[in-house]
Amino acid sequence: MTIARNDKAVLFAADAANALRLIGYLALAIILMVIDHRGGYLSRLRWGLSTVIEPMYRIAAMPSQLARDARMSLADRSRLTEENAQLRRDLLLAQARLDRVNLLRNQNRHLKQLLDAQRSLGLGVQLARIIDVNPDPFRQRVTVDAGSNQNVHVGQAVLDAQGVMGQVVDTLPNTSTVMLITDAAHAIPVVVDRTGMRAIAHGSGQIDTLKLPNVPISADIKVGDKLMTSGLGGHFPAGFPVGIVGSIQTAADGMFVVATATPSAALDRSVEVLILHELPDPVGPPAPAIPLGPPGNAPEPAIAVQGAGERQ
């Protein structure tokens, strides 16, 4: 009997010790999460571990890469010819469009010179390939094979041939993470191409759907309307296709219209993406001028100088 009781006592003691250790680890984990949520130390840890993490990404992506390569090499000739012809047609169209854009660009530059505005319209882009890994199915994120060694920075916009894909949210030395526009935590300012109405397209967490939750009930929006980036907010340059409105419903409270849109970019099919280099000029009121000199006298000379400038 005594032995049994002793056994039990030992068992309970072990349980209690285990529970204490669990509480300790849980507290540690929660502290880590709170610190990381505030300060974002995970990206620094990931940076330190990048020599391990990046090879693991490559290895994990290898089977799908192999499958894709095998499919490519087994694709029959007729399909390739057909694809080639299609691409030629597309190229021709794109070339024609490009010529027109060139014309417009020249015209634009001329007009801007006339207006004396120094704003560049050039787009520096960088090609990157998607590494096919997926750490979390409920976050719409992709990993691309260019990182800070290739001059990629957090906040750069990512495009494919058809439209906006998302933005860079985390960089490692040779890879970086892109949050897609359909991620539930993502929102992108858009403008309806037909009417110029502004809206914000939120990600839905589903790779084929964007949501426009707060469209006024009187707004002019129809199924089939094209959504473009508006350039407001300064994260994305203006004028890139974002999506096409697919359905419009009245919200449950009857105050707003909820529209859904399908993204223009081939979010789940693209292999090659473009990372936009230059961040667009911030839109908004200019920064307040810092007054120079002693506070009392400063405005007067400034006005005088301006006046002098006008006279000349």
Partner: protein
């Protein structure tokens, strides 16, 4: 000496493979069914050789999982710690369950894990996940017998080979 080294290689190899499987892409329709491989393999090792698996190991493996996934630091660590604690607490019972009961227990454990994950994400201010979020425990339940049989078979072969 040699035998313990082979066993160690097998142990760490199985865990490394889990990380790769966790990262591995799947066709879009199957993505929601990706089981929590790391938890399944950790469960196997907790049942079969509990001297290897402790809360500290679960915590460390979880931290590395966080570094790979790039979500929130400590998320995987917390989930694996809780998972491991429950498994170690009920180890003697789980071990002698028939396979179907074990699979049901795995379902309950993974469901608990999902609820934890939901609580973590909600407190980090993320929106509620879609319905597919709850399919992964079912996939884990279906996968468990195969994981168990495969690892058990490999381990017994390794032993037979060594002796």
């Amino acid at each position: 000496m040699n035998r313990t080294r082979a066993a160690n290689v097998f142990f760490w190899g199985s865990i490394g493979l889990c990380y790769l499987l966790q990262l591995m892409p799947l066709p879009h329709a199957l993505l929601a069914f990706k089981p929590f491989w790391l938890a399944l393999v950790l469960l196997y090792w907790a049942l079969e050789s509990p001297d290897r698996v402790g809360l500290g190991l679960a915590f460390a493996l979880g931290l590395f999982g966080d570094a790979l996934a790039g979500g929130l630091l400590g998320e995987h660590a917390l989930r694996l710690c809780v998972f491991c604690f429950i498994v170690l607490r009920f180890r003697s019972r789980l071990r002698f369950f028939p396979m179907w009961q074990q699979a049901l227990a795995v379902f309950a454990l993974l469901l608990n894990d999902r609820i934890l994950l939901l609580m973590i994400r909600a407190s980090a201010g993320e929106p509620l996940p879609p319905l597919e979020f709850w399919w992964a425990p079912i996939a884990g339940m279906v996968a468990w017998p195969w994981v168990f049989l495969l690892l058990d078979d490999l381990r017994s072969r390794l032993r037979a080979h060594e002796s």
